[in-house]
């Protein structure tokens, strides 16, 4: 495991419930290290998005504690590059790719004007995601895969220490997914990556741990597993992970 880094997300005894009273998350304990890559999985309504929003400081826990980069999630936001699901955005909105990526350079100051330096960073982020040649294209005319790359470029333009990706592989064809994982690997050299996904086909080699969220949270490290073992255990097309066993907070091993 690449465990040299310190913890950048520390969640202890966290619980969250909406006003209606139904608990969404209970007794969550989680440590996420610097330069780690983890994938949040779980059924719909299991609390994946809630966990994501807690980390982003968009909602507050009803119990327990969450620290991101050693401080309140709200204060740590500027260190996080967030990519939402593109399906949640208005696909008719009149913006081009450059407009979108530049939003990663927004800040509170100077009426939101962009400097030459901001533009340079945006272009670098686009080059990294191989979308620089699309810069002047309308966002509405892009394919799903292209939109995802543009939104990741926007997240990279924030110059983040942690990349938070919400369903980066949804609605994208397998060939592009493969490309995407290669890019993730390259990015992982300089930033931590936390992604939400339904798709676990890549668990073996690209992810350090799998965070299963279904009201409770369990961490399954994948570092000791080889690709062939995963295939043996789950079959080739891994699309789910077993939830029928319990493990300690630090995760467990599939012997």
């Amino acid at each position: 495991m690449k465990d040299q880094g310190s913890d950048i997300i520390v969640i202890s005894d966290l619980s969250f419930a909406y006003e209606s009273g139904n608990p969404v998350l209970e007794n969550v304990n989680l440590n996420f290290r610097e330069l780690e890559t983890a994938c949040i999985v779980g059924p719909n309504g299991g609390g994946k998005s809630t966990l994501l929003y807690l980390i982003l400081g968009l909602i507050r826990p009803t119990g327990g504690q969450i620290k991101v980069f050693g401080t309140d999630p709200e204060k740590a936001r500027m260190k996080i590059g967030y990519m939402p699901q593109f399906a949640n955005l208005d696909s008719d909105f009149p913006v081009n790719v450059m407009d979108v990526v530049l939003m990663g350079r927004l800040s509170r100051n100077f009426f939101g004007r962009y400097s030459a330096g901001d533009r340079k960073l945006a272009i670098e982020a686009m080059e990294e995601m191989s979308v620089a040649d699309l810069a002047q294209r309308p966002f509405s005319e892009l394919s799903g895969g292209q939109r995802q790359r543009v939104l990741i470029a926007r997240a990279l333009a924030c110059n983040p220490q942690l990349l938070l990706l919400d369903e980066p592989t949804a609605n994208v064809d397998p060939c592009i997914q493969e490309q995407f994982y290669e890019t993730m690997k390259a990015l992982n050299n300089r930033m931590s990556i936390l992604l939400v996904s339904h798709d676990l086909g890549f668990v073996s080699q690209r992810i350090d741990s799998v965070i299963c969220v279904n009201r409770k949270v369990q961490v399954h490290p994948t570092n000791d597993l080889s690709g062939s073992m995963i295939r043996d255990i789950y079959g080739y097309d891994v699309s789910m992970i077993r939830h029928d066993h319990r493990c300690s907070e630090g995760g467990h091993r599939h012997a």
Partner: protein, 284 residues
Amino acid sequence: MLDFIRQLANPGMSFLLYAFLTGAVASVAFGIIGTYVVTRRITAIAGAIAHCVLGGIGIALYLKLNYQLAWCTPMLGAIVSALFSAIVIGLVSMYAKEREDTVIGAIWAIGMAVGLLFLAKTPGYIDLHSYLFGNILLVNADDFKVTLILDLVVLVPAILLFNNFLAVCFDSRFAELRGLRIKLTYLLLLCMTAMTIVLMVTIVGIIMVIALLTLPAAVAGYFTRRMWSMMALAILLSLVFTSSGLIVSYKWDLPSGPIIVVIAGGCYVLTVLYRLAVKRFLKK
């Protein structure tokens, strides 16, 4: 047309000049705010604010004529009620767990009803018709000055905060994560919309505000791919709709508000048909 231009220069016909200038100046705000309203999909909110304006006008006229408060003009009432309803709707949609469209509908109707009640108890003749359907030909020099000021009030933040508004309209959660005060930005946008609506009431009246706010931007949206170019085209179209409506209304003695709306609406329908035809043609 030539005759119309000659009339504009005629000192005896200054009402025509003021009408023309008012339409031209207000078009800038219509194009910019209309683009925000269309892309952010808050047409219903704009409609509710517009109808609340009647409430403000009613209360202002009631106070003015019953209590001899000369400063309490319909314009003041319109501005206060537009801002008030914009802030109420904004806060409700942000904080209350009510159904937003129900709240919008309620404010829409209550604003209008309050206005009608106060007007019923206001002595003397009130030209309700011109508030409901607009009459740009009634604009005088003072109204024109107010138009100019309101226009500036809307334009300055719209230009200075362009990037922030763009980000909040496109993806407000992301904007919030970049440290933008999204609630404040949204409230400001609603207040600017409210001011623009007050401008519009003089031109097309309360009932038809939504048409002039959304149609130019909707047409522009078909032909442009970026926010600023959509705004520029929407401004140009507003200008064309209001001034051509004015010419037609003057020439054939027709009410100006409905003519402007019919021209804008006709242009919109033609655009939609054109787009459908192009799509069909390209598919074959």
